[in-house]
């Protein structure tokens, strides 16, 4: 954002407008597609926008790193937006306090289960060790995951990709999955989304309701801190 003088600010403005327009277009498409519930998850705005932008980049001969520096302003808003999660957390705090261990137990289960399952798949299917180490951080938020992956012999940039795909899977399929297995409780949905699919799952929880968001935020914070503290002790 501060480097605007160094890069072509016109291209920056153009890519920002393109990205925001595509995002809102994709959001509209997603809402319109609600009657087609069986294919709606695939039309998630993140999937549609990402694919369109990758296509446009290829057409415009713009590399990913160039695109990222042009759209720095959007990434810069991620920090303040994450801080804003304190608001739903505060509004729902009395319910969270009443839940105490009833919310901490599922978060801990998710924190162990999710990396353990992923690691088992990679181990059984005989993949390289650095891949196995990287997958352990998949359920925690990107900045934490990258640091933790580096500390245990994984690949930080690859960790970011695993984390984001995990987030997209949770955000797109989560709500349909909950409906399928009969999890209607907003607080339970939020806990699962935040603990397993970190910030992207929490972004999805926001569209479900305030209570869902509060539990997702709590799960995101607790699992993120615990996982990034425990992994380096176990494997560092």
């Amino acid at each position: 954002m501060l480097l605007l003088n160094d890069i072509d600010w016109l291209a920056s403005l153009l890519w920002l407008i393109v990205t925001v327009t595509i995002y809102f277009g994709a959001l509209h498409l997603y809402k319109v597609a609600r009657p087609l519930w069986f294919i709606q998850p695939v039309l998630h705005p993140l999937i549609v926008s990402t694919l369109l932008i990758i296509l446009l980049q290829a057409l415009a001969n713009t590399s990913v790193s160039e695109y990222q520096s042009y759209t720095n302003l959007l990434s810069a808003l991620l920090g303040p937006a994450t801080v804003a999660l304190a608001v739903p957390l505060y509004k729902q705090f009395s319910i969270l306090m009443k839940m105490s261990w009833r919310v901490l137990v599922p978060i801990s289960v998710a924190g162990v289960l999710s990396p353990a399952l992923s690691w088992t798949c990679l181990y059984l299917l005989d993949t390289p060790l650095n891949l196995q180490m990287t997958i352990l951080v998949k359920s925690i938020t990107t900045p934490l995951a990258m640091d933790a992956a580096g500390a245990i012999g994984g690949i930080p940039s690859l960790a970011a990709v695993f984390v984001i795909i995990t987030g997209i899977v949770g955000a797109t399929c989560g709500p349909a999955l909950f409906m399928l297995i009969g999890v209607h409780n907003q607080a339970a949905q939020g806990t699962a989304l935040g603990a397993v699919s970190h910030a992207l799952g929490t972004a999805r929880a926001i569209s479900i309701g305030e209570q869902c968001t509060a539990f997702a935020t709590l799960a995101l914070c607790i699992n993120g801190i615990a996982t990034s503290l425990i992994l380096p002790i176990l494997f560092g």
């Binding site: 993140l46 980049q57 720095n72 994450t82 304190a86 299917l125 990107t142 339970a188 972004a203 993120g224």
Partner: protein, 136 residues
């Protein structure tokens, strides 16, 4: 116009919180994500103030409603790893997609069992199950 002003003021406060947290953690060489410290500081400030100032709640709700948008530049970097994804498609599919779905299902189910027995009237005060209203 008043709304835009309020949004920008709120955004300013949230940004100051985030970038101050980032700066401090860097100075003190503490390895925790700045956003988590920001959440903690804002949360305890709200507890002290006992209510959410209008500028903060306005900015927070608009930012949170479109949080997915801010992830797009990071997600696009997936194209850098296509080689790897092509090399281990089955292993990655199971370890990322399938294991995420199983973990979500088990965590969601377990949470509902524990919370349901606790006090369903309190927990489900928001009309549920409510269909998702936004696409992020």
């Amino acid at each position: 116009m008043i709304k835009l002003n309020q949004f920008l003021t709120g955004l300013f406060f949230l940004s100051v919180l985030f970038f101050a947290a980032k700066h401090w953690l860097l100075q003190l060489d503490i390895n925790i994500p700045p956003a988590l410290l920001g959440i903690a500081v804002l949360f305890f400030s709200l507890v002290l103030m006992k209510s959410v100032p209008k500028v903060i709640s306005n900015a927070a709700s608009s930012l949170l409603a479109h949080m997915s948008l801010f992830f797009i530049p990071a997600i696009v970097a997936i194209v850098n790893f296509t080689d790897l994804i092509v090399a281990f498609p089955v292993a990655l599919f199971f370890s990322i997609v399938v294991s995420t779905l199983i973990s979500l299902a088990i965590t969601g189910w377990l949470s509902q069992q524990l919370m349901h027995r606790f006090d369903i009237t309190n927990v489900s005060s928001d009309k549920q199950p409510k269909p998702p209203s936004k696409g992020n």
